[in-house]
Structures are given as C-alpha cells and as structure tokens.
C-alpha cells in the first residue's frame, strides 16, 4: 500500500470561467402532492399530507417515507411552527438566496405536522435562533406559486397569533392549481485545462499544433489529454505535428442554432487526420462550398485573428488544393 505524488509543475495550467446554466431554468411539473403544496403557498396556506398511520408530513410527500405508499389526503398545517434544527448564513449569495441580509436556515415543524420542512428564518441575528423557537410565516405580497411565496419564517412571540397572509397582489391570479415551477440553476466554475491540454493550447497561441506521446509509443495525440488512451501511460514527450491533414469523414449540417459558435447553415464539420497525428481532430471545414468537401480531401489549418491559448484559436481547416489522399492512407482512421 503506497502513496503516489509527484513534484510541482513548472507552468500554471490555464483557467477559464464557465457557467453551467440551462437557459430559462428547469421546468418542473409538480404532480398532485406538490401541486397542492405550491397552490397552498400561493393562497397563503401551508399544506401537508396525511399518511395511512395518521401522521402529517410536510411538504406533502407523494409517497410515504416509511411504506412508499401513495398519499392523497391533503391537510392544512401551521401556519405557526417550531424550529427543530437551524444554522446561520452570514453572507447570502445574490441570485440564489432570496433574502439580501444574513438569515437562518431551519427545519420548521408547522403546528399539526409530524415532520419539518426546510425554510429560511429572517431573524436578523443568529442569537435569536434556537431549537424550539416559535416562528410564523411572513408571506410575500405577490404570490405566484413558488417556494418564495413563503418569503421567510419570522420569530413569533410566546402566545402571539401568527399574522394571516395578506391578500395576494399578484396580477391575474386565478383559481387554477399550480402545476409547474421553474428552477433556475446557475453554477459557476473556474475550469482548469490540465497540464497537457495547457501545453497544447499555449501552442495554438503561437499557431503551432503540439501533440504528445508516451515514451514507449509513436502514437501522437492531438489534442493531448495527458495519457495514451490505449495504455494509460502518461504522454510526456511533446511532438509538433503538421498544419495540414486529410478529411477522413465529415457531415454537412443543415440545422441552425446547435451552437453559438456554429457558422450559418449549411456548414461542414469533419474529422481531420493531421499529418503526424494518431487521432483525428474534430471541427469545422471552411473555405469552400460544403458540397465540395470530400473524404480524403487535403486541408490546412485556419487560424483566428486572436493569438490566444484557446481551442477556438484553431478555427478549422480549409482545402489546400492538393490531390486527394488515397483511401488506403487514411481508411483505418474513419
């Protein structure tokens, strides 16, 4: 049983910002239990479900957590409740946490319920929070059937009665049940290219195409990922490959809008076997009419104006005008 570690790299890897977000947010259809719950929130009520053994679970589960049986009897609970667990968020995240100031997260068991739901508590300071504290909903004035219709739980003085939900000020709120919610999920990353791809990308900035191979192999991989995929051996030897290659296969795309980077339709994407490389490069073929592209066509690199260490610096390939490469030379690669 041994440990593995290696020395530091001489060069920092490239890092680029990345946003993972489905445009417009995920659309979540609700089904009967959650429809009852979100419709209740819109109407200023907390709704739970009664299980076969008489317990009340909130949010209303579709299926009994103990028996997996379907549930179908909805009951109003609360609105006041008791905190059964809590923590504190000192620095809310704009665009995610909907309260702008520090707040508590809590499990709140509404009166009449046997389970607790996750909620936010607008308590000002954490010293106010405790397990056992009494809280009541502060309802949003404009309620549209989202989790934020219950804007926050707020501390409730002993013996005080919770305030009823104010009239809903949302325009055009009907009696129809809420059947769908939209959940925006935006995650931000600083993606690290890794050691081998960083070398390749820095080569592109110099208009060079740099692949790598493992010590015991003459297979040059472009772009390199760090290993010879056939053996798993690290690719420690750098090899600059040619800027010309052969189209091994391709397709003409006639559908628009597949990528922000896609040119106007019709356009050609191809596998291009670079001279000296073991695997095809995949991307655009430009500089000729799409109908002129052929398997075996000889092509050369097209560079963007930018000299950046970025995959998009190598825009694609265009015909060289040389005679086509014979099928036998590249058929193993298509």
């Amino acid at each position: 049983m041994t440990a593995t570690s290696e020395g530091p790299a001489p060069e920092a890897p490239l890092v680029e910002h990345h946003v993972l977000e489905y445009p417009g947010g995920y659309t979540r259809s609700l089904g009967p239990a959650l429809s009852a719950f979100f419709t209740g929130l819109r109407d200023g009520r907390l709704v739970g479900a009664r299980t076969a053994d008489g317990r009340v679970v909130v949010p209303p589960a579709e299926h009994d957590p103990r028996t997996a049986a379907p549930l179908g009897e909805w009951v109003e609970v609360g609105p006041a409740g008791t905190v059964t667990a809590w923590t504190w968020v000192a620095n809310p995240k704009p665009g995610k946490h909907h309260l702008s100031g520090p707040f508590g997260f809590a499990l709140v068991r509404p009166d009449g319920a046997d389970t607790a739901l996750v909620g936010v508590v607008d308590a000002g300071v954490p010293e106010v929070m405790s397990v056992g504290m009494r809280v009541a909903p502060r309802w949003a004035r404009v309620r549209t059937g989202t989790i934020h219709d219950l804007e926050a739980w707020v501390p409730l003085a002993d013996g005080a009665a919770p305030a009823p939900a104010p009239p809903n000020e949302a325009p055009e709120v009907g009696e129809e049940p809420v059947t769908r919610i939209v959940c925006p999920i935006r995650l931000e990353y600083e993606i690290n290219a890794g050691i081998a791809p960083s070398r390749y990308l820095r080569g592109l900035a110099q208009r060079r195409i740099i692949g790598q191979r493992a010590r015991d192999s003459d297979h040059v991989y472009v772009p390199p990922r760090g290993s010879d995929p056939m053996t798993g051996a690290p690719t420690e030897i750098e090899v600059e490959v040619g800027q010309t290659g052969t189209v091994t296969t391709f397709c003409i795309t006639n559908i628009a809008g597949l990528s922000e980077l896609a040119p106007p339709i019709p356009y050609v994407t191809a596998q291009v076997l670079l001279d000296g490389a073991a695997t095809p490069w995949f991307g655009l073929v430009t500089g000729c009419d799409p109908t002129e592209v052929r398997m075996g066509m000889r092509v050369r690199a097209v560079w963007s104006e930018q000299a950046a260490p970025d995959a998009r610096t190598l825009v694609g390939f265009e015909p060289t005008g040389e005679p086509d490469a014979p099928y036998e030379h590249w058929k193993d690669y298509a």
Partner: protein
C-alpha cells in the same frame, strides 16, 4: 455465469411521450415501478435492493437524483446504487442489478431507469460547451453523421437503407401502445423528404426526445420459481468499454461492441445470432445504426448489414426481427432507452410483448445498449428457459 441463476420476473414502463407535465420525477418512475412490481406479484417490502440508471444529471438539474427518489422507489433502509455509463446506462443498470442476484446478496432487485428530458432540453444537455474543449458545433447528430458517412463509404450501401429502418421501426411502434411516436402514415417518401439535418441523416432518421421510465424486477432462481408470471432467464451479460479516441480506432465498427457481443454469445452458447435468437432489441438512435450494428453484433459479415436490412431480414415478420417494439427511433428517454431494450427482449421471451410479440422458437432474445462516442456497450441474452 454466476453461481445464482437470475431471471426477469417483472417489467413495467410508462407511456413514453415528449413531455409529462402531470407528474414529478418521482411520479414518473413510480408508474414504471408499480407496473413492474404488479407484474412480479410483489410489493416494495419484497425488494432487497434498488439499482437506478440515468444519463447525465444536468438533464434534470438534480445532483444524483436517485437520492431524492429514495422514498418513491421504496428504497429507504435498503441498498440503492446509481449507475451512469452514458447512453449504455440502461443496459449497464440491468447488468449491475443482475450481479446483485448472481453474487448472492439479493433475491429480488428493482431496476429503474428514467429520463425527464422535458425539464430541460436534450440538445442542450448533450452538448454543453466546456472551456478548452473544442465545441461540438453540430450537436450529437453532427458527431454520428460522419461515422455513418464512413460506413456508407466502406460498405457501398445505397442511400435509402436508413430510410427503410426509419419506416420499419415506426411501423413496429404502431403495435406498441407505450411507444412515444405513432406515425401511422409514414412512408419512405416521407422520410426521404423530411428535413435534412446532418447529411445523410434526415429528421425522420433520428430518434425523438422523450420523458419516460422503465423498471424491471430481477430475481434469483428461488424467487423466480414463486413468481406468478413467466420468467425471462438471464443467459449472458457483458459490458465493454474503449476510449473515445486512440490510434487507428475503428469508430464505425468498434472493437468494444464486437468483443461485448462475442462475450455474451459465448456465455449464452450462441453460435450464430441470426439463427439462435428470436429477435433483438438494439439501440438504434439513428436509422443507419441498424445495418452498422448488424455487422458489429455479428449478424452478418462486415459490409453486409445493409443487405439484411434491405432484404427485410430485420422486419417484424423477417427472419430475425430487430426492434419489434419500435426501438429508440420511436421512444427515447435517454437514460432509460437501454433498459427498455433489455426489458423488451425479456418481454418477448416471456411471451408478454402483446401486439408486437414475435414467434419464440429458439427461446432467446438479445438486449443491447451503447453510449458515448460508440465506446460503451452493454448486452444481455435472455431466454424462456433457465440456462443449462
């Protein structure tokens, strides 16, 4: 095979459709699960372990959604395992479940695979641009269409072969009430005139995007003997993977697919799949993949697949029907599509395929799934009788 003989004793699936606006993810999987449990004559309490498969979590925007589904799957207090092997995942999920039985750790395993693609959008989900990675500017079809072109070049197949599959599988789907697409008037001309998306692929050559779920109950021999309905016995299972790209990789007829088929045939004692199987449910998301996989799976020599398709060998009344259920071309909840193939193969040998039942003479059927850049393969052979 393993020490414990294993069988499918329950199968259930949703009606596949573009968007299920009336259910949660839990509600969707429950429909399939309850149908499978009823088929097996079991309740949640009878299940020892649950295995869940689906494609990337980014489709629904839930990290490891099986965790949130534990109540709905009746998994609380039990083992729940999540498999993710790209497009082959539905098949891998069934195989991982079978290993629970074969290893002697569970008598009855619930297998579930699903996708609720309408929560987002499949094209987005499959081609999220990543920094430093050359963008897949032409979408998933743009990845596979060049491989189809390479196949046509190699085999000399005429251009209408894909359209034959597109029509055949959609006509098969008319026999299957659970299929997503029902296109009763489809013709070769209609396919040939549909929008050209990725030459040579046209709109009707490609699979739909579906919401749907599939569930199986797998059982040990002991448990299968007390099941109320017929069993589909597992005669062989295999998974094979190879890297996305390497020197001289045959992307059209991948070695991993050939090796996987050879392994599963060896286990099941199948010499010639065309003669020894009654039908095959094979992952064909683009029409041309039928002739390509006919060759990859050893139903014919390389270069001959299109001739079988053209001659109607894979037709519903053909010598070896492929995708009598309508296949992926008719229903494609991505993460479930492989399990649907595995489950439909089981339904055929159980004699439970209803309107798309094919004659069972040899007693065995193939279920197949693949994924990634044609690099992950999962297959099983199921039979009407227990393996020898």
């Amino acid at each position: 095979m393993g020490a414990v003989r294993t069988a499918v004793i329950g199968v259930g699936q949703t009606k596949h459709t573009a968007a299920r606006h009336d259910v949660t993810m839990a509600g969707l999987v429950r429909e399939a699960v309850l149908e499978a449990l009823e088929d097996a004559g079991l309740d949640f309490a009878d299940i020892d372990a649950v295995v869940v498969g689906k494609a990337p979590d980014t489709f629904e925007g839930v990290v490891m959604p099986e965790l949130a589904l534990a109540d709905a799957l009746g998994a609380v207090g039990k083992p729940l395992l999540r498999v993710h092997t790209a497009g082959s995942v539905g098949g891998s999920t069934a195989i991982v479940a079978a290993k629970h039985v074969m290893a002697g750790v569970a008598d009855r395993v619930l297998v579930v695979a699903f996708e609720k693609q309408s929560e987002s959008n499949a094209t987005w989900g499959l081609t999220i641009p990543m920094p430093f990675t050359p963008p897949l500017v032409a979408g998933a079809g743009g990845y596979f269409a060049p491989l189809i072109r390479a196949y046509i070049r190699r085999s000399g197949a005429p251009s209408h072969i894909g359209h034959l599959v597109a029509v055949k599988d959609r006509l098969n789907a008319l026999r299957n009430p659970k299929a997503h697409l029902h296109l009763p008037d489809i013709t070769l001309e209609q396919v040939a005139e549909s929008l050209l998306l990725w030459e040579p692929l046209r709109y009707l050559d490609t699979c739909p995007s579906s919401d749907g779920a599939m569930a199986l109950v797998l059982a040990s021999e002991r448990a299968a003997r007390s099941a109320p309905g017929p069993a589909a016995w597992v005669h062989g299972t295999a998974m094979r993977s190879e890297p996305t790209m390497f020197a001289r990789r045959d992307q059209v007829n991948p070695q991993a697919g050939r090796d996987c088929a050879a392994a599963v045939y060896r286990q099941a004692g199948i010499g010639d799949p065309r003669r020894d199987l009654d039908c095959a449910e094979v992952y064909v998301p683009f029409s041309w993949y039928e002739p390509m996989w006919l060759e990859n799976l050893g139903f014919c020599a390389p270069g001959e697949g299109w001739r079988l398709t053209e001659a109607g060998v894979t037709g519903f009344d053909g010598e070896i029907p492929w995708n009598p259920s309508g296949g992926v071309l008719s229903s494609n909840p991505i993460g479930a599509s492989g399990l649907i193939r595995f489950g439909e193969a089981a339904q055929q040998v159980r004699g439970r395929a209803g309107g798309y039942q094919v004659p069972i003479r040899r007693g065995r059927a193939l279920g197949h799934a693949y994924g990634g850049g044609s690099q992950f393969f999962a297959m099983w052979v199921v039979g009407a009788e227990p393996p020898a």
